[in-house]
């Protein structure tokens, strides 16, 4: 019977230069749906959790879900699963655009890269024709030029490219993998793993299409979801009009927009870099990923007199053209967190991150940490190569380039803020969890997101349990951000449900309007499965525990489920959230109890058996 799985994976051994096609393990597919869950099961089964993330033994898995490439709304996502060089934890980074759907059209649910090549290579996929090719001519080039060259060389402008830039090649610990020039599997350094394998890019073209198990029911299900997404104010109006950047003013007014490396929770000039200002002055158009009805993506353009304002040593011809972003997270990390209010420097730095292949959250946060070290006297101008005072927009743009190329002080920044702060003897300036930098919500002002950060399997991150939806936006129900009560259950529910969304191939943004009661039927009618909502939540719980067990086995223990001292004890100094700290101790024990874990975050035997993870 036809369904939306291709049931095939590509196994590419870069040491031996071989490509094999294998059947997907059907039992695992059923246990984990696909996507994040399935790829994590493969990684755990095939690698040692203590392996060197940048060694040959680590594997790099690209994976889609059963709804990727279908006409289910937001069914564009692919994920990259590996062991993170930044955190040492499991890494799963998720991207939209058109690459994931094209991979399905070519006939593959997943690609497993193993080993490492001696020389730069890229993988060329045209349906069944899969070849490892020499990448000497594109090694060292930015993502944008790489994509243009590969499309030209492969002779098909409809092909899709996922590539690393110089940052991945140079193993910057927060480098990412970028597709369609501006969409990225962004966090945890998956680009560095790709670089360690000397794999520059994947170019894919597929013409096979995707079937669904029950077409009549599938179209009923997706049309229902599309209607809800269209009618919901967030997905039908706010995100298309302003993108994620609309949150800048919201979080600032509330007093939850961290600035100056979390020394403050508001930014005086937030309006200058807000979603409203970008929409009024820099926005060219919004942009959608494959099958997306929301179109939250931004395309911005610099004014003519601003494009050369911050000169960097790059030959890229793209700086005068329009480019993607910036999104809320990137704006926050590279502007308020660094005390910067120059919108054009921000846009340019964001484009540079995309071209170099670097996570703007971790980059901005690492620069903010460096700025605090500088203002504290731990780094001098000679060491940094320039003044690194908060607010220095020139430093923001220059250091992106230097970090991606590991030149000068950028070599220190390329290690991330955990290692940077330790190197310069101020580990207390690291603002993150499990060696990964925080995203854009102050966990002192919003209690639940603090628990979500602390317990996240991939280190500080908002996309595994986006409790902001409830605590700030009131979706699906409003909870008080200042309260700790109920946040353990909220966090667990969001973590488990997100595992389902990630494994299906949908974008997490669809959940601003639809939930598992709409998503699970779409999975079933596409994939031929018969999951109930409860089944799906159980799968989400299985995925969470599987990732957690991997981390425990890698030596990342419950003691790391914590927050920096500045967040737990350093009261917010002023503004509407003045005096607040995160009360993690009031939430974490209940969270462990709800998870069926002991005080050291070790799952009980019963829980492991219940989830089939024994």
């Amino acid at each position: 019977m036809s369904n939306s799985y291709t049931d095939k994976l590509l196994r590419v051994n870069l040491s031996e230069g071989t490509v094999k096609t294998e059947k997907i393990n059907r039992d695992w597919q059923k246990e984990f749906i696909g996507g994040r869950g399935l790829a994590t099961k493969y990684l755990i089964s095939e690698t040692d959790s203590k392996t060197d993330p940048l060694g040959k033994e680590n594997k790099l898995i690209f994976v889609t879900g059963p709804l990727t490439g279908t006409s289910a709304p937001t069914g564009a996502r692919y994920m990259v699963v590996t062991k993170s060089p930044l955190t040492g934890t499991i890494a799963c980074s998720n991207s939209g655009g058109y690459f994931g759907s094209e991979l399905k059209f070519a006939g593959y649910d997943m690609i497993i890269f193993e080993g490492a090549s001696d020389k730069p290579v890229y993988l060329s996929i045209y349906n069944d024709d899969v070849v490892i090719k020499d990448a000497a001519a594109i090694w060292g080039k930015g993502v944008w030029e790489t994509e243009d060259i590969l499309k030209s060389v492969e002779g098909d402008s409809d092909s899709r490219v996922a590539a690393i830039g110089p940052a991945g090649e140079n193993k910057v610990l927060f480098s990412c993998i970028v597709n369609e020039k501006h969409r990225a599997a962004g966090r945890s350094g998956v680009g560095a793993v790709m670089g360690s394998k000397k794999l520059k890019a994947i170019v894919v073209r597929g013409t096979k299409g995707i079937g669904v198990s029950n077409p009549e029911r599938f179209f009923e299900d997706i049309n229902k979801s599309k209607e809800i997404l269209r009618e919901a104010p967030v997905t039908g109006q706010a995100l298309p009009a302003y993108g994620t950047a609309v949150l800048v003013n919201v979080m600032n007014e509330y007093g939850g927009l961290p600035s100056y490396n979390f020394r403050s929770s508001q930014f005086a000039n937030a309006e200058k870099i807000s979603g409203e200002t970008i929409a009024d002055t820099r926005l060219v158009a919004n942009k959608a990923c494959f099958a997306c009805t929301i179109a939250c993506g931004r395309v911005t353009k610099l004014p003519d007199n601003a494009s050369e304002k911050y000169i960097v040593s790059t030959s890229s011809r793209n700086w005068k053209d329009a480019g993607g972003g910036p999104e809320y997270e990137n704006i926050w990390a590279m502007a308020p967190l660094c005390g910067i209010d120059d919108i054009d420097a921000l846009i340019k730095a964001n484009w540079l991150c995309n071209d170099l292949g670097m996570d703007p959250i971790s980059y901005g946060a690492t620069l903010a940490c460096a700025m605090e070290l500088y203002e504290n006297g731990a780094i001098d101008e000679k060491t940094a190569g320039m003044n690194l005072n908060f607010g220095n927009a020139e430093a923001l743009v220059k250091m992106v380039y230097d970090t991606g190329h590991r030149s000068g002080f950028g070599d220190y920044l390329a290690e991330g803020s955990y290692r940077l702060s330790k190197r310069f003897s101020h580990p207390e300036f690291f603002m993150g969890v499990k060696k990964q930098e925080f995203p854009a919500y102050d966990p002192r002002a919003v209690q639940g997101i603090g628990l979500a950060y602390a317990t996240n399997n991939r280190g500080a991150d908002h996309l595994r349990a986006y409790t902001i939806a409830s605590e700030i936006m009131g979706i699906p129900e409003k909870t008080d951000p200042a309260e700790t009560e109920g946040k353990a259950a909220l966090t667990k529910l969001f973590q488990d449900a997100t595992g389902v969304v990630d494994s299906s191939g949908l974008c997490i943004f669809c959940t601003f309007a639809i939930g598992l009661p709409e998503i699970v039927p779409m999975i079933n009618s596409a994939a031929g499965s018969d999951y109930s909502v409860d089944d799906a939540l159980k799968i989400g719980e299985r995925i969470w525990n599987m990732e957690h067990l991997y981390n425990l086995s890698a030596g990342i223990l419950g003691a790391e489920d914590t927050l920096p001292k500045r967040i737990l004890e350093g009261k917010i100094a002023e503004g509407p959230t003045k005096g607040m700290v995160n009360k993690l101790d009031k939430m974490l024990p209940e969270y462990y109890q709800l998870r069926g874990w002991d005080d050291n975050a070790v799952p009980s035997k019963e829980k492991i058996e219940e989830l089939g993870l024994g």
């Binding site: 919901a232 104010p233 967030v234 997905t235 109006q237 706010a238 995100l239 009009a241 302003y242 993108g243 994620t244 950047a245 609309v246 949150l247 003013n249 919201v250 007014e253 509330y254 007093g255 979603g275 409203e276 939250c296 999104e327 809320y328 997270e329 908002h462 996309l463 986006y466 902001i468 939806a469 700030i472 936006m473 009131g474 979706i475 409003k478 008080d480 951000p481 997490i508 943004f509 601003f512 503004g575 509407p576 959230t577």
Partner: protein, 76 residues
């Protein structure tokens, strides 16, 4: 009493960026909405001096308060 009212996102199309509204003593948020003809169904988040009123339109205003009003928004 004078109340500073800040509008965001699509609400700016109809109400501009910010305004100062004079209301009677003991006015509630509801009264201010009525006076400024702000449709409740177009708003989602209402903060008074940065604190969410959590849907309580009877929240009593004080002279010099700042109200921040947002439509439904989302993002990440």
């Amino acid at each position: 009493m004078l109340i500073k009212v800040k509008f965001f996102a699509s609400l700016r199309d109809d109400f501009g960026k910010e305004a100062v509204c004079e209301v009677d003593q003991n006015s509630r948020v509801e009264d201010l909405f009525h006076k400024m003809k702000i449709p409740k169904d177009l708003t989602k988040i209402v903060l008074v001096n940065g604190k969410s009123i959590e849907g309580n339109m009877d929240y009593l205003l004080s002279d010099g308060d700042t109200i921040s009003i947002f439509p439904p928004i989302g993002g990440g």
